[in-house]
Amino acid sequence: MNIAFNTRFPRRSAAGVGAPALAGLAVVLALQGCAATPPVPTASLDAATQAISSAERSDAARHAAGELSEARARLAAANTEVTAKRMTRAQQLADEARADAELASARAGVAKARAANEELRRSTGTMIEEMQRNAGDPQ
């Protein structure tokens, strides 16, 4: 397991860290063995949590319930992965949860804007109708 982790880890960080440093890190991790805990993807988890809160404030529970519950499920799965110390997968799930939550917010926004439009149409229609009825009345 330790070895498997070490083979995956450099691929994720390859963009930012130089090859010698990676080699050094791999060596360090190999020496530390199972005692080494990979970093928890805190930023992704926080971002997902915030995105879900934001979606909840946007009434997503009402207008985009499917997307919102998908986001919650993925965030829960991400936390499970953290507990299992599968941090790469945890980060992926957290990022997916965030994308779900952002989609929930956007769809809630569309739904609300359309509902507002419908209400405007309805009230304008009522007003015009009333006006015509009043105009038809003798008084």
């Binding site: 997968r89 994308a99 989609l103 956007a106 926004g109 804007a113 439009n117 405007l120 149409r121």
Partner: protein, 306 residues
């Protein structure tokens, strides 16, 4: 496939190896795009080429574009590929939703404008209707006011007429009182006493015509009234002479009236002698009362109904 090729073209191993390596390289480079990302790309392209939505969420669409490109990059990790495709899919959907929201918000502005126009329209009509009602109420008020004015005028006229009639009646009463006349069924009777006449004569004495002058004035004010003058005597002397004397005295009064402007055709005379006494002829007071001329002014034909 590789194996079958080797079997067929065993004669040229190098050429085959080159062909195989080229083929393998070709095969490796051909699916540059991860197959799972294709569907997402299709939906992103549809969004980008939608004339209604394309320009509405530029940043989100660029974000989606980047995510789709990342998802399209081929690599061996299936979980990572699925993850990237998932992210790309969510971002494309989010971009579409944002663009749709912008469109809806723009519509909202239009709808709000329409509603405002309708509201103004309604208020204008309401104001017009109110003005019309006010105008009609005013017109109605005008009609009522005119009716009231007319009624008041009529009442005023009636009161004026009543006043005039009352004044006339009052004046008439005063004149009758001045004439010392008596209102009877025959008419207004003015009795001219015998002191106007010299005993046995028919001539009127000078300076004693005050009562007759009032009569002249009265007849001048009431030109439609006819006058009958009756002469009466006491029982002294013969009936025939008394009859004659009474007629002459009546004629005398007539002459005075006509001489003072009363139309001759309004006046008739009669001599009744001693036939219609008003008192006892056995006393001198009674006889004096019987010697008289009565001027009877007939009631106005119209005054009978008043």
């Amino acid at each position: 496939m590789n194996i079958s090729l080797t079997n067929i073209k065993g004669a040229a191993p190098l050429a085959v190896a080159a062909a195989v390596s080229a083929l393998v390289a070709g095969c490796a480079s051909a699916p540059r795009v991860a197959p799972a990302a294709e569907a997402v790309r299709v939906r992103l392209t549809a969004l980008q080429s939608d004339p209604q939505l394309a320009g509405k969420a530029d940043a989100a669409i660029q974000d989606a574009e980047a995510a789709v490109r990342t998802a399209e990059m081929p690599q061996g990790d299936k979980v990572l590929t699925a993850h990237r495709v998932y992210l790309a899919d969510r971002k494309v959907e989010s971009a579409r939703a944002l663009a749709e929201m912008r469109v809806a918000e723009e519509q909202q502005t239009q709808l709000a404008n329409q509603r405002e126009r309708a509201r103004l329209d309604a208020r204008t009509r309401e104001a017009d209707a109110a003005a019309e009602r006010a105008r009609m109420a005013q017109a109605e008020g005008e009609v009522q006011r005119r009716a009231a004015d007319a009624a008041r005028d009529e009442a005023g006229a009636a009161r004026l007429q009543t006043d005039q009639l009352e004044q006339q009646a009052s004046r008439m009463r005063q004149q009758i009182s001045d004439l010392e006349a008596e209102v009877t069924e025959r008419g207004i009777v003015v009795t001219v006493g015998d002191m106007l006449f010299t005993s046995g004569k028919a001539n009127l004495q000078q300076g004693t015509t005050g009562n007759l002058d009032k009569l002249v004035t009265f007849l001048g004010e009431h030109p439609q009234r006819m006058v009958r003058i009756e002469g009466h005597t006491d029982s002294a002397g013969t009936a025939e002479s008394n009859h004659l004397l009474s007629l002459r005295r009546a004629e005398s009064v007539k002459s005075y009236l006509v001489g003072n402007g009363v139309g001759v055709d309004r006046v008739t005379t009669a001599g009744l002698g001693e036939d219609v006494p008003v008192a006892d002829n056995s006393t001198s007071i009674g006889r004096q009362m019987n010697r008289r001329v009565e001027v009877i002014i007939n009631h106005e034909p119209s005054s009978a109904s008043n």
